[in-house]
């Protein structure tokens, strides 16, 4: 999943990075095919090149290896809202068929079954980044027909909804899961499977999705990880694990 996500990033991207899978994917891209990619974390570190993956978006490693560090107000107002960021990377507890994301609550807001961390930077990353990538583990609890709460807008209920909300950005263009790649249908904006990872069947994906999932007419197979990608990622993860275990 991390490797497939990293391939979606280009050398000329300016990327707003979240913690976890997005951070791993972005740094893998930087250490393989996209050495000049600009990584920005919402703590205000611009153009950072961490040697180990941060546990939080503000680890010292990010500031130490950044071109510059700016106040959070500037981060959100000039760089994000100002339209300087080409790709945003989001995850979510629930993602629906139009790529709307819930990171707020499962169940009713006032009496939640599970209280999740909340929006953080995501509502505006979803609105202001040129394009949005999403990563998530593929199961029917996450990929639901309708999210309990729209924290961050994807494609709303279909074509035209983003424009009606005053947005001119593309929104989610790709969802990377551990089973497949999904992209919004150009006409309906509903997520359809465009590529299956090696060894994954249509039935597996259908079972792990909370709505009757559609498959593209020309369904691809995701190329398997290369030896280099695997080596660089494992190396990065080992370094990170060692660094964070130290008290």
């Amino acid at each position: 999943m991390t490797i497939a996500a990293s391939r979606a990033l280009r050398n000329d991207d300016v990327c707003f990075v979240g913690i976890g899978a997005p951070s791993a994917a972005c740094n893998l891209a930087r250490l393989t095919h996209a050495p000049d990619i600009v990584l920005i974390y919402e703590s205000g570190t611009l153009q950072t090149r961490p040697d180990v993956l941060p546990l939080s978006i503000g680890d010292g490693e990010l500031c130490d290896t950044a071109l510059t560090t700016v106040p959070v107000v500037e981060m959100f107002q000039y760089w994000l809202q100002g339209g300087r960021i080409s790709k945003g990377f989001l995850g979510g507890a629930q993602i629906d068929r139009f790529a709307n994301i819930n990171t707020t609550v499962i169940g009713d807001y006032a009496q939640p079954k599970v209280r999740l961390p909340g929006g953080g930077g995501a509502p505006e990353i979803a609105g202001s980044c040129g394009e949005v990538l999403i990563t998530a583990k593929h199961n029917a609890r996450t990929f639901v027909d309708t999210v309990d709460f729209i924290t961050s807008l994807g494609h709303g209920g279909g074509p035209g909804d983003r424009a009606a909300a005053g947005l001119s950005t593309a929104g989610p263009v790709l969802v990377v899961t551990d089973l497949c790649l999904l992209e919004p249908d150009p006409e309906t904006r509903e997520l359809v499977v465009t590529s299956l990872h090696e060894g994954v069947t249509r039935e597996q994906v259908a079972e792990a999705t909370g709505w009757p999932i559609r498959f593209a007419t020309r369904l691809a197979t995701t190329p398997p990880p290369t030896a280099e990608e695997l080596h660089v990622l494992r190396d990065l993860q080992e370094r990170t694990e060692r660094a964070h275990a130290r008290a």
Binding site: S43, L55, E124, G127, I150, G156, G166, R246
Partner: protein, 276 residues
Amino acid sequence: MAEIVSLHDAIAEHVGDGATVAMEGFTHLIPFAAAQEIIRQGRQALTLIRMTPDLIYDQLIGAGCADKLVFSWGGNPGVGSLHRLRDAVEQSWPQPLQLEEHSHAAMAAAFHAGAAGLPFATLRGYARSDLRRVNPNIRSVVCPFTGEELAAVPALRPDVGIVHAQRADRVGNVLVEGIVGVQKETVLASTRSIVTVEEIVDDLAAPSPNSVIIPAWAIDAVAVAPGGAAPSYAHGYYGRDNAFYRAWDAISRDREEFRAWLHEHVLEPQTTGADS
């Protein structure tokens, strides 16, 4: 004008029961020592403001100091949930916690508006987010020039703003280095402000004229608290204790285990030093 006082006296004088308190530091320079002093002094019914509640508010909430939380992301970064926060929201333990929930962009803009003496902040934000539905403090304004509809949130004006920094000079001018978050905005937006510092020095030794300095005359109290940001970190002084952030998950998951931890590490030592 900043008075240089002990941490105990700074909290005793400036943080009253029922106050609205913002303790900021965006993953860096989080004022843990000050928060733990608030817990030791047994403050009640606080409204806590913070973009990322983090372990610091998990401790204050679990200790029963807070009635309300104004926030934008409430998790243990890279680890998972804040269990004391969740327990208060889901089970009302140790008491119910009212939430006012925003996004990071809106919180940052609201601190900025507070510091700038404006009544509200505007942003191109919250597009079709249900946060608008559950938070009556997220509204809309129409641009008088273009007619564009923008989101609006009220300025944040805490009774007390508390931040941690690397050092102060003997007059109380403060140097902040590294990830500077919304600390300056918090001090300037608040009616009263407390800055805890690693050390007080004769010369601030600011690395350049562009360094982030908060002048003494914009601060009410400066208190020395070495290690006062741990288990978060102070750039140039000590690193983030990521192992403790991970360990917190188990400590905070169980009410009794949390209480035992609080007793041993915060209530019992009766010192103003940091804990990690």
